[in-house]
């Protein structure tokens, strides 16, 4: 009798969070031209943030996995999360403009990452809405990407739908690409 405990705190938190997050994406949103909770400019900032967290490289990125639609679907029914996202997206765009860029979207990948990491790694006692937003959006993007078939293929993970009858053998290399 030995339930999964992750780092117990993290796991218990994630169980609750997944239950809040889990919701089938709205088909209209998943089809994608529909925006619902965010206006078009803010949605574009969201897409830039999502692409910075899991960028497209030799493998598909979070945009290819439809992550923005999953997030928008969640925000459409969770007003508190929507508020956090709106404030956070406005903040990252403002920080980009303060650095001399016309917008967050206009930044190159490394510059986008620099802004996001600065918010993510701010000391606990000085964290404001930006840090909370980064923690949240990072978690959402990583979960939706690596929990999807697209992300699983990148690391050669086979979901256990038919079990692992080869479990006693060395793994077979099935990664999509190597770094």
């Amino acid at each position: 009798m030995f339930p999964l405990r992750a780092t117990r705190r993290a796991f218990l938190g994630s169980v609750l969070w997944i239950s809040l997050l889990w919701r089938r994406p709205d088909p209209a949103l998943a089809q994608s031209n529909v925006v619902a909770p965010l206006d078009p400019p803010t949605r574009e900032i969201l897409e830039a943030v999502v692409n910075a967290i899991v960028p497209r490289d030799q493998d598909p990125g979070a945009l290819d996995a439809g992550v923005p639609a999953r997030i928008l679907s969640h925000l459409s029914t969770h007003p508190e999360a929507l508020k956090l996202y709106q404030a956070g997206l406005e903040l990252v765009d403002r920080l980009a403009r303060q650095s001399g860029a016309p917008s967050f979207r206009a930044l190159e990948g490394p510059e986008r990452e620099r802004i996001l990491l600065a918010l993510l790694n701010a000391p606990d006692d000085s964290r404001e809405a930006g840090g909370l937003f980064l923690t949240r959006v990072r978690r959402d993007v990583l979960a939706f990407y690596w929990g999807s078939a697209v992300g699983q293929a990148v690391v050669g993970y086979r979901p256990p739908l038919s079990g692992y009858l080869d479990y006693a053998n060395p793994p077979v290399e099935t990664r999509r690409s190597r770094p």
């Binding site: 030995f2 910075a52 929990g147 060395p170």
Partner: protein, 562 residues
């Protein structure tokens, strides 16, 4: 208003987990008419469990406690734990190499309740251990804890029966266990990850041996054999794991004498003038019912059972039912656990295979490791530590962007978790009591007080050292995270809160689980365990004791001594 049901059952079993399900089977197969009350619902593996979907990591577990509010637990008062002993600060949990929690107190005790037919066996990983013979006599042999009122030899026939119901897979040639006949199904081969760890263990002179598991390697009762999906915790989509709903309860229902009533929460036991339990009151679909049985068996676990007894006071038992000893809720034993996730340079894909397929019993006798009083065991898990699928792995890796994605590509599938689990010596100060506040059904919340002794901390310290040695000897190149119950309590092997014994002043129930005070009240869950079996998993012992209790009840009924 309470509606009284017209029928009287031979037995009412409250809770359908390891103990309740097996007790119900034992009673029904012996000819008794049994009502089994379960708070959760019945699950159908293929339909209900998330691993039947490719994006399973994004889906919540079907049978988790849906009443838990964010950050809280609906049955427990969450209080700051005791102050941490700074001399053992190196035991702090850490999910990032080199970074430790800075908390000054233990986190509040909480646990994952499982509501559903089958109870915690819905999410357990199938470990099916016979406690060793020395674990029944720790006080006599080692001056540790208390001796049990039942011996290994007395329990062995019930162990054997339970193993056959479950189709336990194992290897009888385990030199650290009592000699025995063959298991019902052959042992699982060691997973590739465990083979790697076994080589390291051998270098240290330890033996990493196949675990005994209620994950049959052959088809049992028309269920498929284990498919090694590693998904026991999420619920086995193949219906291969021998959870109690698919084994004991299914058998009991086959007799036609078991009535299972799910989504029914027991609110109170009612006492009659004759000092016996006269009725069980439960709530179902917002209506309250009273039902009567000649005997009542409680099997709701080491927190909920004492909670119900303490909350069900009567005029003659103002201290709680079955509590003339004052020991209901006392001697709470938590889980002493360390887990260390290590990384190899190459891919091992430890998520494949039974989740805990191997164990090391070299230290399972108390006193085998220097000044450590507890016996403990070590083990290998592909799924503990949270490194199961890509999503959980990604969330535990720091950073974002290109570096994070590169780290995922190079590191996913390279880690495995090594753990140690020790027996905690029972102490009166560790206990379950009632709080002033109540839950939504008006039942007082439980308060769990759990502190470590110096001996507990020494055991954690020793196990942390041993698992790190093991990882190093096996060729691991990095420790990714460590978790210990020094600062974050765990609840997988809790017990002891209605301990069994021969002396009514020093125990709550007899060796057969019968209340010393209330002749038609029995307890068949982890509450009755006087010890923790030197780190082995308790479910098979709970199941075997439940069979023994059921047999005893049948004997008493035939003698008209109930």
């Amino acid at each position: 208003m309470i509606t009284t049901r017209p029928e009287t059952f031979d037995a009412i079993v409250v809770g359908s987990g390891a103990g309740g399900g097996f007790a119900a089977m034992g009673l029904a197969e012996a000819g008794m008419r049994v009502l089994l009350l379960e708070r959760g619902r019945r699950f159908e593996p293929r339909r209900d469990f998330p691993m039947n979907h490719p994006d399973w990591e994004l889906r919540p577990r079907a049978f988790r406690d849906t009443e838990v509010p964010a950050g809280g637990d609906a049955s427990l008062v969450l209080e700051d734990g005791v102050a941490l002993n700074p001399r053992y600060a190196h035991l702090r949990s850490s999910s990032t190499p080199g970074e430790r929690s800075k908390a000054s107190h233990r986190t509040p005790f909480r646990y994952e309740r499982v509501f559903g037919l089958g109870g915690t066996t819905l999410h357990y990983q199938g470990e099916a251990h016979r406690f060793s013979d020395h674990a029944f006599r720790p006080a006599s042999l080692y001056g540790f804890g208390v001796d049990w009122p039942v011996s290994y030899a007395e329990l062995a026939p019930y162990y054997e029966r339970a193993e056959h119901v479950l189709g336990v897979a194992g290897d009888a040639a385990n030199p650290f266990k009592p000699s025995r006949g063959p298991f019902p199904t052959p042992a699982h081969k060691l997973s590739y990850a465990s083979q790697r760890i076994a080589a390291g263990a051998a270098n240290l002179g330890w033996a990493l041996l196949p675990n005994s598991l209620a994950l049959p390697t052959r088809s049992i009762d028309a269920r498929p054999p284990c498919q090694r999906s590693g998904g026991c915790v999420q619920g086995c989509i193949f219906g291969a794991k021998s959870s109690v709903d698919l084994t004991a309860i299914r058998r009991a229902e086959g007799t036609g004498r078991l009535q299972v009533q799910t989504e029914s929460r027991v609110l109170a036991l009612e006492m009659g003038q004759d000092g016996r339990v006269d009725g069980v009151v439960y709530r179902r679909a917002n209506s309250d019912y009273r039902v009567r049985g000649r005997v009542v068996l409680l099997a709701t676990g080491a927190v909920e059972t004492p909670r119900l007894l303490l909350a069900s006071r009567s005029s003659s038992q103002s201290n709680g039912i079955a509590n003339s000893s004052g020991l209901v809720g006392q001697f709470f034993m938590e889980t002493l656990l360390v887990e260390v996730t290590v990384r190899f340079d190459d891919r091992i894909d430890a998520y494949r295979g039974p989740p805990i397929d191997s164990r090391i019993w070299n230290f399972s006798r108390p006193g085998r490791d220097g000044s450590v009083r507890s016996g403990y065991v070590l083990g290998v898990s592909g799924t503990l530590g949270g490194f199961h699928g890509p999503m959980s792995h990604a969330l535990l890796l720091p950073g974002l962007g290109r570096a994070h994605k590169d780290a995922m590509r190079s590191r996913f599938g390279t880690s495995v978790t090594l753990f140690g689990i020790a027996e905690q010596e029972p102490r009166a100060g560790n206990r379950v009591t009632l709080a002033d506040s109540k839950d939504s059904d008006g039942i007082p919340l439980a308060r769990v007080q759990a502190a470590h002794s110096e001996a507990d901390l020494l055991a954690l310290d020793a196990m942390l050292t041993r698992v790190k040695e093991l990882g190093q000897a096996a060729g691991a190149v990095e420790v990714l995270q460590q978790g210990t119950t020094y600062d974050v309590p765990a609840a997988s092997h809790i017990g002891g809160t209605c301990r069994m014994g021969g002396d009514p002043r020093a125990s709550v129930v007899t060796a057969y689980g019968r209340s010393h005070d209330v002749p038609n009240l029995f307890i068949t869950d982890a509450s009755v365990l006087p010890g923790q079996g030197a780190g082995d998993s308790p479910s098979l012992t709970i199941q075997s004791l439940a069979l023994r209790t059921a047999e005893h009840i049948v004997t008493l009924a035939r003698r008209r001594e109930l």
